[in-house]
């Protein structure tokens, strides 16, 4: 029995478009990213997005186990999305459930088009996404962190993948739904873009929407992704910037 009692807020969004966390419809929650946070992984990223806390790690290219899974002409990309038992209000039983199996698949397919897999034939690239704390939008947070972990691992890529969710609350299309909107809103649409070409590599929709609302949702997702992309690039540059400053300091 959970020790948390959840209450639906009386108003999800006001007439002026103010949301339960005080944001306007187009506002993102704060995002903070750090790459290279784990010593053992070949690449890693830690991401805070609203109340979400996500760790992503990449191992590879490495030997494939079991061997028969190896592909002769390209790398095998594997992905595991997993929620920590303490990531949810009620303890989640450890291990994969049907939801995490599906999310592992859509995250893998969101990242797949961004990687030059043909450069690493016969190997495996393993991506692990651990949700330490969940607060709506964990899959898009996972994709955003995982893409940086791949880049941090030095894997050759076409570009970064950036993901964001948009949703519908009554007649409003809102960017980056929060917990209340995720729980009681009318529609939820996670989207991922390969930013170089603005190709969509993940798209799910859950809940009814008019064609107009859907078009607007994609437009808003694209704009929000542009903002998140800047945060990603900055996070990727930061460790090198630190090295550059250290060299300058020593030069003096």
């Amino acid at each position: 029995m959970p020790l948390i009692v959840e209450k639906k807020p009386e108003v999800l969004i006001t007439e002026d478009g103010i949301r339960t966390d005080g944001r306007g419809p187009l506002d993102l929650r704060p995002i903070k990213i750090q790459v290279g946070v784990l010593s053992r992984a070949d690449g890693s990223a830690y991401l805070e997005w609203g109340g979400n806390r996500v760790l992503a790690a990449v191992y590879g290219p490495r030997e494939v186990h079991p061997k028969h899974m190896a592909l002769p002409d390209r790398a095998l990309l594997r992905c595991r999305y997993n929620m920590a038992p303490f990531s949810t209000p009620e303890r989640k039983r450890p291990g994969p459930d049907r939801r995490s199996v599906e999310l592992s698949k859509v995250i893998r397919e969101a990242l797949l088009p961004s990687i030059f897999l043909e450069r690493y034939p016969g190997t495996a690239i393993d991506v692990f996404v651990e949700i330490l704390r969940s607060d709506a939008g964990t899959r898009v947070a996972g994709v955003t962190a995982a893409s940086l972990a791949l880049a941090d691992a030095g894997i050759e890529m076409r570009g970064l993948v950036t993901a964001v969710a948009v949703g519908r609350v009554e007649d409003w299309v809102v960017v980056d739904p929060n917990h209340d909107e995720d729980q009681w809103g009318d529609a939820d649409i996670p989207v991922a873009f390969l930013m170089e070409e603005k190709e969509i590599t993940l798209l799910q929709l859950d809940g009814p929407m008019t064609q107009e609302q859907f078009d607007r949702a994609l437009e808003l997702a694209s704009q929000a992704a542009d903002l998140i992309y800047e945060v990603q690039k900055e996070a990727l540059r930061r460790p090198y910037e630190a090295v550059r400053l250290e060299i300058l300091r020593r030069g003096e």
Binding site: L3, L38, Y59, R80, F86, E90, P94, G95, F128, E130
Partner: protein, 270 residues
């Protein structure tokens, strides 16, 4: 990536040579513990949590509280369930899947350290005799494995438990369960600290790195409570002589105040 067992083979001779001359690869003394850091911030939805690093080893421990029926033989005691996840994210050798024997052993060793020292007041976790008690889930998550995860888990568990605030649950006369908004602190009465030693030749080393673990001949984990008593021991692989175990116990007891001080200062334990 180079298989770590091959790497251990390559560096093993060097580590053994150093050990024979009283040295370690990272320059530490045999009884020196790597730097313990408790990361500030909130990372989970747990009722108590701690992100702890021991050198390059990192773990995240979360305590979740729930209610349920007590075990029939302990109707007036809460329930503690300890679980270790050796995530594949933490090491190239960890595989996805249910906890393996290593994970289960670690969880049970930490669990025994807590029980052996009566660290948690289990009687205070009963709500209604024989019917309703608090259940405490101690989930230990390995994030980055550079050796001695078990001591990192034990330290993380103490910090997480000491920070745990549980919603008050009451049972009305009609037998209905009510969850209150107010919370109470998990009653932590002792601080059992574990000390893991490995043996390389004749050398006993505290807090081994992964490389040291991989070349070690034997390993043992000893937990000490606040009054200096030994409250649990687990010999892991290999074998020790009696005098070596006695030495390990006395080193562990002598190191206790130092680690306790770090826990109190950094972890905010009272």
């Amino acid at each position: 990536m180079l298989d770590e067992r091959i790497a251990a083979e390559l560096v093993g001779g060097y580590i053994r040579e150093l050990a024979a001359s009283g040295q370690r690869k990272d320059g530490r003394a045999f009884d020196e513990i790597r730097e313990i850091k408790i990361r500030p911030g909130t990372f989970t939805k747990a009722e108590g949590e701690a992100w702890v690093s021991l050198g390059a080893t990192q773990v995240l421990v979360g305590v979740k509280a729930d209610v349920g029926t007590p075990f029939p033989d302990t109707p007036d005691k809460g329930v503690l369930i300890s679980n270790v996840e050796l995530l594949p994210l933490a090491s190239p050798t960890f595989e996805p899947g249910p906890p393996d024997e290593n994970a289960i052993e670690m969880a049970r060793v930490v669990d025994r350290a807590l029980r052996g020292s009566n660290a948690i007041d289990m009687e205070a976790l009963a709500i209604k005799s024989g019917e309703l008690v608090y259940m405490i889930f101690l989930d230990m998550y390995a994030l980055d494995h550079d050796g001695n995860i078990i001591d990192a888990f034990a330290l993380g568990s103490l910090v997480a438990l000491s920070r745990t605030k549980i919603p008050v649950v009451e049972v009305t006369e009609e037998g209905e369960m009510v969850v209150k908004e107010e919370t109470f602190d998990l009653p932590l009465r002792d601080l059992p600290i574990t000390f893991t030693f490995i043996k390389i030749g004749d050398a006993l080393m505290l807090d081994p790195t992964l490389e040291e673990e991989l070349v070690s001949d034997a390993a043992i984990t000893i937990s000490i409570d606040s009054s200096g008593r030994v409250c649990s021991i687990q010999k892991r692989h290999g074998s020790f002589r009696v005098d070596e175990i006695k030495r390990a116990v006395s080193i562990a007891r002598s190191k206790y105040p130092e680690v306790e001080k770090i826990l109190r200062e950094q972890g905010g334990l009272v």
